[in-house]
């Protein structure tokens, strides 16, 4: 059975009133937004570490909002890690563990590569190691819900890349709702299934990452003016140089040979700046992805640039229900020169596709 957490929380934080209602299921739900938007407060309220003014927390039909923090079953990974300094790594891991058998212990130790660290004292660990221990420790308490508060903060950029595989493994194995507070777009894009954008204590936008990644409000509030879309699909053809990814309404060709077999689910991100527009199908061109699209909307984002919302079509120009949306950012002068209008059918030239996972 899928775990579901429905929350409805109100709290006067002085600066503003936090008022959040959300339904969260298994998978990673990224909580993003400007600093001071109430993200960490939201986690503290869910965990019961801060009293709410009004709270309903419904976990699979049980109201847990009246329970004290230690009975709520919320695994909380704090921004600082907060390992217990007077205990070894292993004692830290076992602190919250309830009747954990050896296989389950080994599995999590394996997952986070902790075998070499078990006897170490917390103050001898590097930032990344300590963070891994902190996440594993929370998992050992077998929580119903996992709360991660910027698990990658304070880890230097070079090592952040090494940390992603652990979080990706967590994403695949954790069968529980995971709240992931972050302000880094690359983390969100790589890891999140769902996204909640918070602003001044309220939910500004929320939804599946694929659905809201292209919303201008999302990129603006996420503190990132690089508009992009995220598409998920399955690898259907895989030869040595390219692979084809089936997404809703069409195929995307990727230059990377995929080490995995076909049928693997992959998510890709396409930046609006990497999508050019042609009114006739260009030939003899190096671009791999040339897709027939219809212009859904033209949005004037700055004085000199426009954002186009494009919907995939099949090559004969038939519209497909539920087809993927991509965005393109071109100059206003190009838009006028090509006389682009809404509902017009054009060719989208995708110059770069980033593979997320």
């Amino acid at each position: 059975m899928k775990k579901t957490l429905s929350i409805s929380l109100k709290k006067n934080l002085g600066r503003f009133n936090l008022d959040v209602s959300l339904d969260v299921t298994e998978g990673i739900t990224a909580i993003i937004g400007p600093s001071g938007a109430g993200k960490t407060s939201l986690l503290n309220l869910i965990a019961g570490l801060m009293p709410a003014d009004e709270a309903t927390l419904n976990l699979d039909g049980n109201d847990i909002s009246t329970l004290p923090a230690h009975k709520r079953g919320m695994g909380y990974v704090f921004q600082e890690g907060l390992l217990f300094p007077h205990m070894s790594v292993e004692k830290n891991l076992r602190y919250g563990a309830k009747n954990l058998d050896k296989a389950a212990f080994d599995e999590i130790v394996e997952l986070f590569d902790l075998n070499q660290l078990l006897d170490r004292a917390p103050h001898t660990l590097s930032g990344g190691e300590a963070r891994r221990v902190a996440i594993a420790r929370a998992l050992f308490s077998q929580p119903d819900v996992l709360l991660l508060d910027e698990p990658l903060s304070g880890i230097d950029p070079a090592r952040r890349q090494n940390f992603f595989p652990y979080l990706e493994r967590l994403r695949k194995t954790a069968k529980m709702p995971v709240f992931y507070v972050s302000h880094q777009m690359d983390e969100v894009m790589r890891l999140a299934d769902n996204v909640v954008v918070m602003d001044r204590g309220k939910v500004a936008i929320s939804g599946k990452l694929e659905d809201i990644a292209s919303e201008p409000a999302f990129t603006k509030l996420a503190g990132n003016n690089e508009r992009s879309v995220v598409l998920s699909g399955k690898v259907i053809e895989d030869d040595n140089y390219i692979c084809k990814l089936a997404v809703a309404g069409g195929n995307i060709t990727l230059p990377h040979p995929h080490d995995d077999t076909t049928d693997r689910a992959v998510r890709v991100r396409i930046f609006a700046r990497d999508v050019a527009i042609a009114t006739k199908k260009p030939e003899d061109i190096s671009v791999l992805n040339i897709l027939k699209v219809s212009i859904e909307e033209i949005h004037h984002c700055t004085d000199i640039e426009v954002d186009l919302t494009l919907k995939l079509m099949d090559d004969t120009g038939e519209s497909i229900t539920g087809a993927s949306i991509i965005t393109s950012r071109i100059t206003k002068s190009s838009c006028e020169r090509l006389k682009l209008t809404a509902n017009m059918q054009v060719w989208a030239l995708i110059k770069a596709v980033a593979i997320l996972n």
């Binding site: 570490l49 923090a69 230690h70 909380y76 217990f84 602190y95 004292a121 103050h123 308490s141």
Partner: protein, 232 residues
């Protein structure tokens, strides 16, 4: 020259008994008080804080006199203790232990409170989120992390209790074998003509106990530090 007389041995043993009793009862109360002061805000907190610290700033004679007023055989608290617990503090070693415990109390509370306030309070929240009840979190996180403070507070308090003079003599007087602790015996020896040898021996014993206590606290503190590593 260093043969202890039976009076001196009695004074030494009495002193140790008094100081250990003061420590035994004082330390747990000091830990609880320190925790309250470090973690909770309540009405009248500054008054409590002031009362605890009073023995540090008041002349010990006044503390002894107040004890006499409060815990004397005919005083309210004295009656209460003798009725409920069957304990009398009047002119016996228990009174000496009470007096030295109260004089040592602020030193213990200060050291323990300091080590509790320097802890990251979020560690307890982390323990709670891992399913530890507030009680479990206190005994597994707060208390072990406060060990350095408890050790130094305990040693300071023990030494203070051992050296307690003014409050003890005004509360329970200086009765050989009953309330005459080392400092009181030392004072008596100095006052008595021909008591110089005795005074010197008692002084050497007091010095030795103080040195041993300090060395012990150093060893314990190092052991804890080694175990806990570089505390955050």
């Amino acid at each position: 020259m260093f043969e202890l007389t039976s009076v001196e041995v009695t004074a030494l043993l009495l002193s140790l008994k008094v100081a250990f009793t003061a420590l035994l009862f004082g330390l747990p109360i000091a830990i609880a008080t320190a925790w309250l002061l470090a973690n909770k805000n309540f009405f009248g907190k500054s008054v409590i804080d002031g009362l605890i610290h009073a023995p540090l700033v008041l002349p010990p004679v006044i503390v002894g006199y107040l004890l006499l007023l409060g815990f004397g055989p005919n005083a309210a608290l004295g009656q209460f203790f003798s009725d409920v617990f069957g304990i009398s503090f009047a002119f016996n070693w228990k009174g000496a232990a009470l007096a030295s415990g109260i004089m040592a109390f602020p030193l213990m509370v200060r050291a323990i409170r300091l080590s509790m306030e320097s802890q990251n309070l979020k560690l307890v929240k982390a323990a709670n989120s891992l399913g530890a009840s507030p009680t479990k979190a206190f005994f597994t996180i707060t208390l072990p992390l406060a060990f350095p403070g408890i050790i130094s507070g305990g040693i300071l308090g023990f030494a203070r209790a051992l050296g307690e003079f003014g409050a003890t003599i005004s509360f329970v007087a200086s009765i050989p074998a009953l309330t005459q602790t080392l400092p009181l015996a030392l004072f008596r020896a100095i006052e008595t003509p021909g008591g110089e040898d005795s005074a010197f021996r008692l002084m050497v014993i007091s010095l030795a106990i103080a040195m041993v206590a300090l060395a012990l606290s150093e060893v314990l503190a190092r052991a804890v530090k080694r175990k806990q590593g570089g505390q955050e």
